[in-house]
């Protein structure tokens, strides 16, 4: 019973956040230089009929509140994000839709690699805190953490693509390249540096956080008990410390999803990777607000969902959360 109440609360919170994002987007849409009307009229590739239809759909001939707000939320929920200014008046959803997969590929793989490596590095440095290995590991983590993603990417291109010539400098595939298995290899060769950039950029903060939670856990009584029982070091670390120390890292990974996405967008610009980041820059240059807002909405919803999932995962890892005990 309690678990269901807890779940409902979480889902309700996530829905409230999405509603707030919609409200924010609505306000932004009206703040925009010129009314949404003018933004439509400024778009030479949208026909007069389409404009008239959109005006009715978005309720632009009615009062701002509540009619326009209701119409806007309704239209957005049914997937009507308006028309792109730059991309020939195409619907925003289709412009954005085709860019999702490339971004998901590099952000997803980068995040997985970063979590694995960051946890390993953090556990190792936390366990050996104060020793030489810890100093070096922590300093590297701090340096990686302080680098702007795009700068890291530019350095990697200069070194591994231009100077050493191991990997391609940009793009997602060789023009007129092979298909089939060779095509996948070609894709992975192009993806390697963007993924490495995102992974390296993220490893730092995961390692720093895990290190401090491992170091903190080492002071706990249960670690002393485990030692007294005569358990081997790696059993203590894996079986007793990590399950507890991982919790804040899980939370951070989810909380940071929004920040990661921001960084990933700039990585795509460095590598001309045809995903949401490159689209964002192009939309920004042509002041294509409908596309920008669509991207914001999409990313916001993904982040909210990611946080909801992290909450669920957290409650599995730590039963105290769902039973409402003090944390």
């Amino acid at each position: 019973m309690k678990l269901r109440g807890w779940l409902l609360g979480r889902v309700g919170g996530a829905l409230a956040t999405i509603l707030m994002v919609l409200l924010l987007n609505f306000v932004l849409f009206r703040l925009m230089p010129g009314s949404p009307d003018r933004a439509l009229a400024r778009n030479p590739r949208v026909s007069a009929e389409a404009i008239a239809a959109a005006r009715v759909r978005w309720g632009l001939d009615k009062p701002l509140f509540p009619d326009q707000l209701v119409a806007y939320v309704g239209a957005t929920l049914s997937g009507d994000f308006g028309y792109s200014v730059k991309y020939g008046g195409r619907e925003v959803t289709s412009v954005i839709g085709e860019k999702i997969a490339p971004t998901l590929l590099i952000v997803g793989l980068g995040e997985i690699i970063a979590l694995t490596a960051g946890i390993a590095l953090g556990a190792w440095t936390g366990w050996r805190r104060g020793k030489f290995g810890d100093r070096v590991g922590t300093l590297s983590a701090l340096i990686l953490y302080s680098m702007p993603y795009f700068w890291l990417g530019m350095l990697l291109v200069t070194l591994f693509a231009t100077t050493l010539g191991w990997l391609p400098t940009s793009g997602i595939s060789t023009p007129g390249g092979p298909g089939g298995v060779a095509g996948i290899v070609d894709l992975l060769r192009h993806a390697a540096l963007p993924i490495a950039t995102i992974a390296l950029g993220l490893i730092g903060q995961y390692a720093i956080l895990l290190r401090s939670s491992v170091a903190e856990a080492l002071r706990e009584g249960y670690v002393l008990t485990a030692r007294a029982k005569g358990l081997r070091d790696d059993r203590i670390l894996r079986g007793h410390i990590l399950p507890n120390a991982l919790l804040p890292t899980v939370t951070l990974a989810a909380l940071n999803a929004g920040y990661v996405i921001g960084g990933a967008l700039t990585v795509e610009i460095v590598f001309s990777w045809p995903g949401l980041g490159l689209l964002t820059q192009e939309a920004l240059q042509s002041r294509d607000y409908p596309v920008l807002q669509g991207i914001f909405l999409l990313l916001a919803i993904s982040v909210v969902v990611a946080n909801l999932l992290a909450d669920l995962l957290y409650s599995r890892l730590d039963p105290r959360v769902r039973h409402g005990a003090a944390r």
Partner: protein, 312 residues
């Protein structure tokens, strides 16, 4: 009850470690000394860049050949227009640091104000404000900043200057402030919540001081140190955000920051031309600033933390 004991200890510490005292404590640590030295050097070049490298070079005043690697005449090499990168980077310090610091001020004002009001008022106002803060905390605020910046710019125009800073940069300051106040608000709120229950605040309430006056006279002085510690981290974050926004193309070409220079390097295809020096100087400057701020922030945190532990 144990909570209360801890709070009162925290409160005393906060009074104890403040102002010049904090600086002295910091200077006892070697890592903080190095970090503060780096920040001082950067601040000096930001205050008087002309003193070190002469006036900012532009496309018309640049004399060297384009994309020269580092040499005796040009320590950090030249960019695609033949401008000296040392000159650009030192002048960039002014823009990056000023925009970073101003954004941090706005962030702290917004976050501190909202946090203190939410914490002191409690109840519905608190619930609503923290709901908003949580939303901002998880949203991809960077993308929000990307949309807000051009909108603001079109609303106020970008042809004027205020105090020598072009309005393009001021919109960036505003946008960073608007999108990054939430973590400060959370920290300040939790401090305020504990201060509210302390006897001296209660006494002030009994005497009949207005809530605004209590916040200004009794709450604020006690969270100043927390704000300083948070402020250092916020500055680092603001500088990173500013450089990213400028890299994408929202900077001001007439007042280039480090991020703007890196954006130029990207559009000049410096990475694929192998012109490593074009990215080294401005990127290294960002890296050093952020690392130095992080080290100082950590040091302050540890100082406050250790005091709490010792006294417990």
């Amino acid at each position: 009850m144990s909570g209360n004991v801890k709070l009162s200890v925290g409160g005393r510490i906060l009074n104890r470690v403040s102002g010049g005292n904090l600086l002295l404590l910091l200077l006892r640590r070697w890592d903080a000394r190095v970090a503060l030295a780096i920040l001082t050097l950067l601040a000096l070049s930001g205050i008087a860049p002309g003193l070190f490298v002469g006036p900012l070079q532009t496309a018309t005043t640049a004399e060297a050949a384009p994309l020269l690697p580092p040499s005796g005449a040009h320590l950090f090499g030249t960019d695609d227009l033949g401008r000296d990168l040392l000159n650009l980077t030192v002048h960039g310090a002014r823009i990056s640091l000023v925009v970073g610091a101003l954004s941090a001020v706005i962030t702290l004002l917004l976050g501190g104000g909202i946090g203190m009001i939410a914490g002191y008022r409690g109840g519905r106002a608190d619930a609503l404000l923290m709901r908003i803060a949580d939303t901002f905390l998880i949203l991809p605020t960077f993308v929000l900043a990307l949309i807000l910046a051009p909108i603001l710019r079109e609303l106020i125009g970008d042809q004027t200057e205020i105090l020598g800073i072009r309005t393009t940069l001021l919109t960036i300051v505003a946008v960073i402030g608007i999108t990054s106040w939430s973590s400060t608000a959370r920290i300040v709120r939790s401090q305020t919540l504990s201060l509210r229950e302390r006897t001296f605040v209660e006494r002030a309430r009994l005497v009949g001081l207005s809530p605004m006056r209590i916040i200004a006279r009794h709450i604020f002085p006690n969270i100043r140190t927390v704000l300083v510690a948070n402020g250092i981290v916020v500055i680092a974050g603001s500088i990173l955000t500013e450089s990213t926004l400028s890299f994408i193309g929202l900077g001001d070409p007439f007042q280039p920051s480090w991020g703007t220079i890196l954006g130029n390097a990207q559009s000049a295809a410096a990475p694929s031309l192998g012109a490593w020096w074009f990215i080294m100087a401005p990127g290294g400057a960002i890296l050093f600033t952020v690392i130095a701020c992080t080290i100082v922030g950590n040091a302050i945190d540890e100082l406050l933390d250790r005091d709490v532990r010792v006294r417990r």
